[in-house]
């Protein structure tokens, strides 16, 4: 069922049916707390995401979107069920491999930013490069390039805490893309932005998808943003209620500038 839907998704590279999913979720459940306070945040979720796809996870507040994203990004462990990354069971990924995945294969934009507020903007963007062991000058250059992309090069030296909400969100996006990840998880990437800046960020993310084949997993409650994605996964009270695919028409109507022209 999923495979059929995928064939009409936007990424041209994913059209072949023999391609392994980047992320495959099977019977995934997550329960928070124990016994009396136990709360089932996710219940028996199944889905596959293929390389180059753009997937929106939508749902009301508290429906379990962030929980699902954290599980898929291997930041958290499921109560039951499995997450497979490129065919490998995530529970078997340990130490070095897991860290490598988090550092170089995944890029994260967290809902609450998670920045080191006392460090400079540049330091924050450099962090993933520092962790992966990139040397001083190169990493500074790359971080500045990433900041340039989100239009914040002039704020590089500022203390991260002194930025506006939207600026912080853009710093987080710069941090997410700085290590050239293959998969970007973005939790409400436009949540704090005005429509103009929001559109810029969306264009940026979709541009990465078009040009580099980066897989996008975007958590949002914004229907318009969701409609731009190749696929929408609707979550309600921890259950996957509906999976839809945008038709070529909806995609075109949504007018992703360059990406759209290329498509024709």
């Amino acid at each position: 069922m999923v495979k059929n839907k995928r064939s009409i998704s936007d990424g041209s590279k994913t059209a072949k049916t023999d391609v392994k999913p980047v992320i495959e979720v099977k019977n995934l459940s997550k329960t928070y707390g124990k016994k009396s306070t136990a709360f089932k945040a996710l219940n028996d979720i199944n889905l596959s995401i293929y390389p180059g796809e753009t997937v929106a996870i939508i749902g009301k507040s508290g429906s379990g979107k962030s929980t699902l994203m954290h599980l898929m990004a291997l930041l958290d462990k499921p109560t039951s069920g499995s997450v497979r990354i490129l065919g490998t069971d995530a529970s078997k990924l340990k130490g070095k491999k897991l860290n490598h995945l988090r550092n170089e294969y995944f890029g994260f934009v967290f809902q609450q930013f998670f920045m080191n507020s006392n460090d400079s903007v540049l330091e924050n963007v450099i962090l993933p490069l520092k962790i992966s062991g990139v040397r001083g000058r190169t990493r500074k250059k790359r971080a500045l390039e990433a900041l340039d992309i989100v239009d914040l090069e002039n704020k590089a030296k500022n203390k991260a805490n002194n930025l506006s909400g939207g600026q912080k969100q853009r710093v987080c996006i710069a941090r997410a893309i700085v290590n050239n990840p293959k998969v970007i998880f973005a939790d409400e990437p436009t949540g704090n932005l005005d429509s103009g800046t929001g559109k810029k960020i969306i264009d940026l993310l979709f541009g990465l998808n078009k040009e580099k084949g980066v897989t996008l997993i975007i958590v949002t409650h914004d229907e318009d943003l969701a409609a731009l994605c190749g696929r929408q996964i609707r979550i309600s009270d921890g259950e996957l209620v509906k999976e839809t695919a945008s038709t070529a028409r909806t995609l075109r109507n949504a007018s992703i500038k360059e990406g759209d022209k290329e498509d024709k």
Binding site: G95, N99, N103, F114, P128, K130, I131, S132, G133
Partner: protein, 436 residues
């Protein structure tokens, strides 16, 4: 993450909480200061003692007395000990003297280069051309192989045909020579009594022989018991000869002491064998030993205080780091989410602990060096105890003593930091990210 980055980050993090880090460093400082200063003092004193040892005849020099003499002296002190007299030779009190058989046997011991009985030599007084006063004196003999530490001039030549003497600072000054160099080559006078003659003389003067002696130099001050003017063998023998003039040969050759030059490597076995011969031998080190062991006790006690301060400081380190881990829960979670390994997170917190230890001990070193220099200067000042020991630095620093202490303190800090660092390394990224 590169090691360099981790170390840099650790220092940056310490600077973030300047007051807290400074207080922790202060606690480490107290411990390290105590230990480093203490080590430096013990190094200084030990060095000084060693230098003294090599000046008074060095390693291969043994002085011996009749063991029985010591024992009977002890038993005489014990009033309840009454011994029966026999006609046996050993029953007589002259068994205090070292017997010629013992000397002979001692010379045959493997490793003994020479063993000579030491005649007594006593003088009544010394005086000089620049003073009318006469001063009482007890002389010592220079021994072959001795390296006298001289403050001016040179040591007497043991077998010179001249009567030679090396004075001490105090005698040179008493005889009217303020400048120690002026006394070199001067002729002084000593008065030597003849024991037998003095029994019958009404006037002490009548039994004294005056000798003219050349001063070859002044000895540098020493803290060991054996210090006083030292004569060469020629003069010593002459004094003895005058002392015993007219006495029957048997009593003229009664010796309380003997000295030996031995192979320093075999000194312990030689002492053991001499003991079997009935001779108690003491090396210069044995004499210095009591001073050293007192010093060791003192150093140990002070080091225990330093150690206690360090234990308290370690608790400070643990506390500081636990607070740091708590405060930076989010940061740790982020680093983990971005792929930083447990080991490196552990290492980065350990680095902070080590850095605290490093700065604390560096600070301790610097301050103890400053205070040590002040102590040295003060003690060498006028009227202070070290005024007459210009070459003796009480507080002596050397990389060989300071660096191990610094490394030890860094190691202790590392140990103290392991628990907080482990706590940080074990944090779950998602829990940590949610932490507000």
């Amino acid at each position: 993450m590169r090691t360099r980055d981790i170390i840099k980050t650790a220092n940056t993090n310490l600077l973030r909480n300047k007051v807290r880090s400074a207080l922790t460093i202060l606690a480490i400082f107290v411990g390290s200061f105590t230990i480093i200063l203490n080590t430096a003092i013990s190094a200084g004193v030990n060095n000084f003692i060693d230098k003294q040892l090599s000046s008074i005849g060095g390693e291969g020099y043994l002085e011996m007395t009749q063991t029985e003499a010591m024992e009977s002296m002890m038993s005489m002190l014990n009033a309840s000990n009454v011994q029966e007299y026999t006609d046996d030779k050993d029953s007589r009190n002259n068994s205090f003297y070292i017997k010629p058989e013992q000397i002979e046997a001692g010379r045959k011991i493997d490793g003994v280069k020479s063993l000579e009985p030491l005649a007594d030599a006593s003088v009544d007084y010394v005086t000089g051309p620049k003073t009318s006063k006469r001063y009482r004196a007890t002389f010592n003999l220079i021994v072959d192989g001795i390296n006298l530490d001289m403050a001016s001039g040179k040591a007497p030549e043991i077998n010179s045909s001249e009567y030679q003497i090396a004075l001490t600072d105090a005698y040179a000054k008493a005889l009217g020579y303020e400048n120690l160099d002026d006394v070199v080559g001067e002729k002084i006078t000593i008065a030597v009594p003849s024991t037998l003659k003095c029994y019958t003389s009404e006037n002490r003067k009548d039994c004294q022989t005056l000798l003219t002696v050349t001063v070859t130099g002044v000895q540098a001050p020493g803290i060991l018991a054996i210090s006083g003017p030292r004569t060469n063998l020629t003069l010593w023998n002459k004094i003895h000869e005058i002392n015993v003039a007219g006495l029957p040969a048997s009593s003229a050759s009664e010796y309380y002491q003997a000295v030996a030059e031995v192979d320093p490597d075999k000194i312990d076995e030689i002492k053991e064998q001499l003991k079997e011969l009935g001779l108690t031998a003491m090396s210069v080190e044995d004499e210095a030993g009591s001073i050293k062991s007192f010093l060791d006790v003192m150093v140990t006690v002070l080091n225990i205080f330093g150690g206690i301060a360090l234990v308290a400081a370690s608790i400070g380190i643990i506390n500081t780091l636990l607070m740091s881990v708590q405060e930076r829960t989010k940061e740790i979670g982020l680093m983990k989410a971005l792929g930083m390994s447990r080991l490196k997170i552990f290492f980065s917190f350990s680095c902070e602990a080590i850095a605290l230890g490093f700065w604390g001990s560096i600070f301790g070193t610097v301050v103890s060096m400053i205070i040590g220099t002040i102590i040295n200067a003060v003690l060498h000042g006028e009227g202070m105890i070290l005024e007459s020991f210009p070459t003796f630095e009480l507080v002596q620093f050397s990389p060989a003593t300071v660096i191990p202490v610094i490394l030890l303190i860094m190691f202790i800090s590392f140990i103290a930091g392991t628990a907080p660092a482990l706590k940080a390394a074990r944090k779950d990224p998602i829990e940590a990210l949610r932490y507000e």
